[in-house]
Amino acid sequence: MSTSADNISAKHLAESISGAQSFTDCDFSQNSDCGACLKQEAAQVSRRAFFASMLGACAGAIASVIGLPILRYVLYPVQNAAKGQKWTLIGDAQEFENIAAPVTKTIALVQRDGWREVVSEQAVFVTRSDAGQLRVLSPICPHLGCSVSWHDKQNKFICPCHGGQFSADGSRISGPPPRGLDVLDAEVKDGKLQVQFQYFKPNVPDRQLLS
C-alpha cells in the first residue's frame, strides 16, 4: 500500500542531503491553493531531512566501529618508530682503560624492521673526553654522512669526502662539518661497555635525533 511515507521517495534523498529543494512536487497548474501545497512540502522536507540524518548517523556508527581501529592499525609503525631502542654491547670496559688514541670497534647492531629483526655491523669509535671519561662516537660525518676515519700520524679524525677534521674527543677542528662528531649514549654495566647506536640529522649545527 502506498502511504504518504512512501511518497518520500529516493529522488529527494540527494536534495535533502544537499539542502537544495525543487518545487516540482507542487503542480501549480492543477493546485491553486499554493499555501497549502507549500506547507505540505515543508513537512515532507523535514521528514526527509530526518530520514537522511538517521541513515547518516547509522552509517557514521558503522564507519567509526571499523574506522578507528583501522586508523590506529595503519598509523602503528608511524607512531612506534622510536621504540625498541636497545643497548648494544661493545666489549669489556677494561679493554679501554688505557687507550691513548681512539679505537675502532665493530658492533652487531640489532634493529627491528617491522616483524623482522635485522643484525647489521656498524663501526663506532671508543675514545676519551677531556675529563677522561669513556666516550663512544658515531663514525658518520655530521656534514653529509661519509664515514670518518682515525689518522694516527695526524692525531685526528678526517672525513675522506670533504676533508672535515675532528680531534680525538670528537670535537670539530676544521672543514665543512657544522658540528663535532656525534657522541652516542653509552654506559658501563657489569663491566661491559654498551652503546645505543642512533642516527642524527646531517649538516645542522646541533645534534638532532633522526627517528
Binding site: M1, S2, A5, D6, I8, S9, A10, K11, L13, A14, E15, S18, G19, A20, Q21, S22, F23, T24, F51, M54, L55, C58, A59, A61, I62, V65, I66, L68, P69, I70, L71, R72, Y73, V74, L75, Y76, R112, G114, W115, R116, E117, V118, V119, E121, L144, G145, C146, S147, V148, S149, H151, I158, C159, P160, C161, H162, G163
Partner: protein, 518 residues
Amino acid sequence: MSNIISKETPSDGRLASRVLHWFDQRTGIKKLTATALDEPIPGGARWAYVFGSGLLFIFLLQVITGVCLALYYTPTAETAHTSVAYITKQVAGGAFLRSLHSYGSSAMIIVLALHFLQTFLYGAFKGRRELLWMSGALLSFLVLGMGFTGYLLPWDQKAYFATAVGTNVAGQVPFIGSFLTRMLRGGDTIGTLTLSRFYVGHVFLIPGFIFLFVGAHILLFRKAGPAGPIHEDPVAPKLPTEPFYPRQVFFDMGFALLIIAALAGLAYLRPVTLGPIANPADSHFLPRPEWYYLPMFQWLKYWEGPGVIIGILVIPGLLAACLFLMPFLDRRLERRIWRRPIPALAVTIVVFGMVYLGVKSQLDDTEGSAAQQLAQQREDEKAFSVAPFEPYTKPVAATSVPTPSAKAADPLVAKGKDIFSDRGCNACHGDNGVGTPLAPSLTGITRKYPQDRLVALLHSPNARMKAGGMPAVDATPDEMNALLAYLKTLGAAPANSAASLHSPADAPKGTTTLPNGD
C-alpha cells in the same frame, strides 16, 4: 520560480548545493541515485529481503579488513606466520581487524545460507530469473573458494594440515586427480609456492570474479525486479509497490548494524587465535577444517575403496549441479512452497543432512584419543597466542665478501687497498668497491677508462662527480699506481687477478657509471 529555472540553477546559493549541481550536470549522479533508491518493491518493504544487501555489506567489510591485513602480511612460507603474529600481537587494532575478517567469513556463510533459503522458500527465483539465480549460485561457490584459500594464509599448524587434506581430496578425481593436486599446490608438496597460489587466488582472482558476478547479480536483479511476497505473480507483479527508499533502506541498515555489532562484539571479546607455525614433520596433528566445511569432512569418512568417487565427486557434483540449475528443475511459476513438495523435500533433506553431518563430526571429536589430541592442539594454539611476539630473524649466513688472499699477496695491490680504505673511498664506494647508494660500483673501472684518463679524473673530478660528493684525490704517482693496481683487481676472481683475462665486453653493464668527461 519556474521549473526551468530551478533545474538550471539551484534555488538557493549555498556552496554545497552548487557543487552538487555542477557535479550532477556532468555525471547524472542524482538520476543514478534516484534510479537506485526508487526501485519499486511489489507488496512493500520487508525484513525478509535484507539478506542480499547484508551479503554485500559483509563483502565490503571483508574487502576493507582484507586490505588492512595485506598491509603487513607477506605470502612466503618463511615469513607468513611471523607477519600474521605481528598483526595479531603487535600492531594496534591488528587482533581486532583480523578477528573481524575471520568472523566475517563465517558471517558470510550464515547470511548466504539465509539468502538462499529466503529466495528458495519464497520461490523468488521464478519467472525469467534463471540467470539471476545462476549468478548467485556461482557467487556461493566463489565464497566457499575464499574460505578454502584464506584458511591457509596464516601458515599455522591447522592451516597447513587442513590444506593438505583439502588438496588431497582433489587428488581423488579420476584421471586428472594428481595433476589437479599438483596444480593447486604448485608442486608435489605444500610449500611456499602453494602459499603464493592461495594468496593470489584469495586476494586477486576470486575477489575479482566476485566483483564481476556481484555486478551481474545486481544488474540482473534490477532487470527482473523484486519478486515480492509469495502470492505475487513473479513475471507481472500486481501488488501496489513501495520504493526501496526509505523503509527498505532502513531495514537493510538495521541488519547491517546487527551484523557489525555481532562481529565487532565477537572480535573484541573473543579475538581469533593463531597456532604455532606449520610443522610438516608433526605426524600427530589432527587437521580440522572451518566449521562450514565440517559436513563435507564428515561425509568423506563414509567413503572408501572404489566407491570413493561416488562420495567425493558424483554426489557433491550432482548437488552442486542441482543448486546451479534449480530454476530449470523447479520451473513452474507456482511459488508457494507447500505446492512445491519435491523441491521442498530435496532441500530439506540436504539441509538437515548437512546439519547432521556437521554435528556428528563435532560429536565424534568429543570421544577417544582424538578428543585428547584436539584438546592439546587447542591448548597449544592458546599458548602460542598469548606468548610474546618473536620477530623473524634471518638464518645465519656469511654476508661479508671474503677478501681473496691472492689480491693481498701483491704488495702493490695491498698498498692500493690500504689507500682505498685510508682515504675513505670505501665509505661511499663500499668495501671492495662494490658500490653503495651513495656512489657507483668501481668494478671494471680500469677497463672502461684508459689509465691516464682515470688518473686525471681522480685528480680533478668532473662536475657530475663533484655533485655526487666525490673529492679530488691528492696522491703521489706511486700511491696512484698502487690505487689503480688495486682497482684493477676489483670484482675479478682471485685466480685471475694477476693478469686480467677479461675482455672489456665481460664487464657487467651498468656497474660502472663514472661519467664521461665533457
